[in-house]
């Protein structure tokens, strides 16, 4: 074998990739990161360019997806993946990114922590995960939405939108009969105080168009300190396309280059990682199980807040909620509540049976009293598979679907939710919709830690039967709770990287 290019090659510069790189660099390991994106698309853009796109991409007819995925920023991030990954969907919208920073470019930035109960089936203990949560939280900067009138208690806070605050007060005043429903201020990876290279949130509400001040965490930001390290090397426009095992591992890229290292760390995102491993795994027609969270969007009206002035706040999640609606182990959902007044108006006007002028007037009149709740089911309520025609070895196709009995449980959920909305003084408006599987981009569980067989991996994310090949993205989460998953992916990658940093880089040789 020729001289390896590094101790570790990390594929992908998203949240998982940087979370794995930092502990390895800190331990003095040499890391080569291959990124299919580059530094293009700087933050130095006018609002006009962010809202409409440098090429006016935004002046296109509304395609009906969520406002978050319609912005020019999101299109620029998602479309190259759609064209180049070779992954298609069948009742499933494959979402991935080849851009620097991966999906963190359009991540909703909501923070959730798993607890011991959530990870009962994982081959790790909660203490190690909690340590990593702390590492990540310290690094990315987290703020809680707080009601400014009640005063802050020392921790970093961002103002809570007035309508969200009103609903939260109602919740606290009229406690639910049981503890099945919880409503709390959302925790987001948004800075309320400036730190090196990033400004504090300016409450302009441009979040969906790509935060101009860098207040919302994006894994690009972590590449700056990494690149200052002499042990770290980042190569642009290197889309990994093949993995070959010899004495160590060799990564082939789309431009024909090869890089080798004793250990490879895959952080290409669940779909990207599956595409890269497709030739090493016995994917037959049944396919690779993919967990993703079914997502329900519900518009809500708060009559008490009608005709009030909107308050300045960010346009990411204001409140978090969790609800247990049945006795089954997976009869629970979590969710996020957004204030519509801070979201782009067009997406809502486009659905009104009024003219545009009257539509905007109506929107401006009621927007400040509107909320949208996005409800996430646990991943086991999905039945999605990554498949490939074994004989023709064609590209991957993901078939989307829902678990058996999902519709019955959905009815139970709707009933419980209606009761809770009523208690909170909210009117559920028509237009609630279940998103097509995949669109939420909460993916996990293709190569779970602790599972045996060719599709399993070790507690260190090392793929069974392929020593030296570690996976740190969502692929290895054994199950997908309904909670926001990015923070957990980052913490798990941090945990694995700390473990790998302890082992000798050359032990695999």
């Amino acid at each position: 074998m020729t001289e390896p290019d590094a101790d570790f090659i990390i594929i992908g510069s998203g949240p998982a990739g940087v979370s794995a790189a930092l502990p390895l660099i800190a331990a003095g390991r040499r890391v080569l990161m291959l990124d299919s994106g580059d530094d293009a698309g700087s933050q130095e853009e006018s609002r006009s360019v962010r809202v409409l796109g440098s090429n006016l991409e935004s002046l296109r007819t509304d395609d009906g997806s969520s406002p978050k995925l319609q912005t020019p920023a999101a299109r620029g991030i998602l479309e190259p993946f759609r064209h180049q990954s070779g992954i298609t969907g069948d009742g499933f919208i494959p979402i991935g990114s080849l851009a620097r920073g991966g999906l963190s470019n359009i991540w909703g930035a909501q923070i959730s922590y798993l607890d011991a109960e959530d990870i009962a089936d994982w081959p790790i203990d909660i203490a190690s995960l909690q340590r990593s949560y702390e590492h990540v939280a310290k690094r990315i900067g987290i703020s809680r939405n707080a009601d400014v009138t009640t005063g802050a208690n020392g921790e970093p806070v961002l103002p809570l939108g007035a309508t969200a605050a009103h609903v939260l007060h109602r919740h606290q005043a009229a406690k639910p009969a049981d503890k099945s429903f919880r409503l709390f201020p959302a925790v987001n990876a948004i800075l309320s105080d400036a730190r090196s290279g990033r400004a504090a949130c300016d409450l302009r509400g441009d979040c969906l168009y790509g935060c101009p001040s860098g207040a919302i965490y994006n894994s690009r930001q972590d590449l700056l300190p990494l690149r200052k390290s002499p042990h770290f090397r980042l190569l642009d426009n290197m889309r990994a396309v093949s993995l070959t095992r010899n004495a160590g591992w060799t990564v082939g890229t789309a431009d024909g280059s090869f890089f080798s290292a004793p250990r490879i760390i895959l952080a290409a995102g669940v779909l990207g990682t599956a595409a890269l491993l497709a030739d090493l795994l016995p994917i037959d027609e049944q396919g690779l199980r993919l967990l993703n969270s079914p997502t329900l969007a519900i518009p809500l009206l708060s009559p008490a807040r009608l005709l009030r002035s909107p308050t300045a706040t960010h346009s990411l999640a204001q409140l978090g909620l969790s609800l247990r609606y049945g006795d089954g182990a997976s009869d629970y959902v979590t969710g996020a509540i957004y204030e519509v007044g801070s979201l782009p108006a067009q997406s809502f006007i486009n659905r009104m049976p009024l003219g545009r002028k009257a539509g905007r007037a109506a929107f401006e009149m009621i927007a400040s009293s509107l909320l949208v709740a996005t409800i996430y089911y646990p991943g086991n309520q999905s039945r999605s598979y990554i498949g490939r025609d074994a004989t023709t070895k064609k590209a991957l196709t993901i078939r989307g679907g829902f678990a058996e009995g999902f519709d019955i449980r959905a009815e139970a959920l709707k009933k419980t939710l209606r009761r809770e909305w009523k208690r909170l003084g909210l009117i559920q408006l028509p237009g609630a919709s279940l998103a097509e599987p995949g669109i939420d981009a909460h993916f996990a569980g293709t190569l779970p830690m602790g599972a045996s067989g060719p599709f399993g991996s070790s507690s260190d994310g090392e793929l069974n039967r392929h020593p030296g090949l570690h996976i740190v993205d969502g692929s290895i989460l054994p199950d997908l709770s309904s909670k926001y998953v990015t923070m957990t992916i980052m913490a798990n990658a941090d945990r694995i990287a700390h473990r790998l940093a302890e082992t000798e880089a050359n032990s695999a040789l």
Binding site: L52, L56, L59, G341, P353, L354, G355, R356, K357, A362
Partner: protein, 405 residues
């Protein structure tokens, strides 16, 4: 001192362009004729002081109010032209250019053609012969859409099927700029032979083909004709004179179209060094420009309808967006462009995404988004008014929305 050039009829379709071109080329232009405080009208004896020292005179003025078959002395066009030419000769003006027409012939169907022919004859017999140059001008097009050209352009764009006389009549189009250049060359050039010049396309085309060129240049499709006999057309003209409230059509215009033989122009064009351009190409360019103006006006109306005072950048964005989506021009009527509030009568609901007007308004809304101040709220009553009028007008809009689908 700049050489002086005298132009009569300088406010007309050809005259205005000629005067502008002459000034551009450094001539001191003296305009004789219909101007505020003008000293001279066709038929008047011109003041010698106006004529002296000029390098040339181009006579474009024509009086349409003369009784058709009046005797020579009473026909102000004939007597006035002769008077002017002889006065120019006396004042020492070296060149007198008379603007005649390719319809000029003894047996022309229309009075205009016959009159021009009679003037040519009288000039040939007058004392002014040594300075007279006759320019027979073909069918002039281009530039401002006025006069005969404006009428034809409008007609051709009117509908894909047109009742029309004289379809097989051959016409020889020439662009306004080329006519002006030709007249200027005749009025100022040295050593031009004493002859009748023909300013017209060498290869005549049928009148039907000419109208098709005009229609296509305006971005419309093909044109089909229902041939109308001349007698029927003349009868129709008389009827228009009798009926109140509809525009009258002068039979003179109809007769002008009704029949003439093409004239040989290659020798004249060579002498005047005129290289005539292809009308289809030139018109595509001129009307294309107008398309842009039209979509710009429409973009402005759309933004104003949405209650936005458009800025330059927003207009540019919207024009670009409309163009990309194939929505420009939308075809809004001039009344709608002047009063954008009228759009309320035609606007479909915003969720009708297949509707062209709905799409255009969506783009207009988006184009103004970057400059919008977040959190700005309209008044409650204004909003209620907008919403309730929207709802009340709905049945009417359902009927009218088809217009811009």
């Amino acid at each position: 001192m700049a050489p002086r050039l005298i132009i009569t009829g300088s406010t007309g379709y050809i005259g205005a362009r000629l005067a502008a071109m002459a000034r551009e080329r450094g001539f001191d232009v003296v305009e004789l004729g219909r101007r505020p405080g003008a000293k001279w009208r066709i038929g008047d004896e011109p003041a010698a002081s106006d004529l002296e020292g000029a390098v040339g005179l181009v006579h474009l003025a024509h009086c349409w109010a003369t009784p058709p078959e009046a005797a020579e002395e009473e026909n102000v066009n004939i007597s006035g032209t002769l008077k002017l030419a002889e006065a120019a000769k006396t004042a020492g003006v070296p060149r007198f250019v008379f603007a005649s027409s390719t319809s000029s012939r003894r047996e022309a169907l229309n009075v205009y053609g016959r009159t021009k022919f009679r003037i040519e004859e009288h000039l040939a017999a007058s004392e002014a012969v040594p300075i007279v140059r006759i320019a027979r001008i073909g069918l002039v097009y281009g530039g401002p859409r006025t006069a005969m050209y404006g009428l034809m352009a409008k007609l051709a764009a009117l509908s894909p099927i047109l009742p029309m006389i004289g379809l097989s009549r051959k016409v020889q189009p020439i662009h306004l700029d080329e006519v002006a250049a030709g007249l200027l060359a005749l009025a100022t050039g040295e050593n031009q032979p004493l002859q009748t010049f023909v300013l017209a396309q060498e290869n005549p085309i049928s009148f039907a083909a000419w109208l098709r060129i005009l229609r296509r240049a305006q971005g419309n499709g093909n044109l089909h004709f229902i041939p109308v006999p001349l007698t029927a057309a003349l009868l129709a003209c008389r009827v228009t004179k009798l009926l109140p409230l509809i525009p009258t059509v002068d039979p003179e215009r109809v007769l002008g179209l009704a029949g003439a033989a093409p004239m040989e122009s290659s020798e004249s064009l060579r002498l005047l060094k005129l290289n005539l351009s292809d009308p289809a190409m030139v018109l595509a360019g001129e009307f294309g420009q107008t398309h842009e103006e039209q979509s710009r006006c429409e973009a402005q109306a759309l933004l104003r309808y949405l209650g936005i005072a458009p800025t330059e950048i927003q207009l540019q964005r919207l024009c670009e967006g409309l163009r990309r989506e194939g929505l420009a021009p939308l075809g809004l009527s001039p009344a709608m462009i002047r009063n954008p509030a009228l759009l309320a009568l035609f606007e479909p609901p915003a969720n009708r995404t297949r509707h062209r007007l709905a799409q255009a308004l969506y783009l207009a809304d988006l184009a103004s988004e970057p400059e919008r101040t977040p959190g700005k709220k309209a008044g409650f009553f204004g909003a209620m008014l907008a919403i309730s009028s929207d709802v009340l007008l709905f049945p009417l809009r359902a009927l009218l929305a088809g217009r811009y689908r």
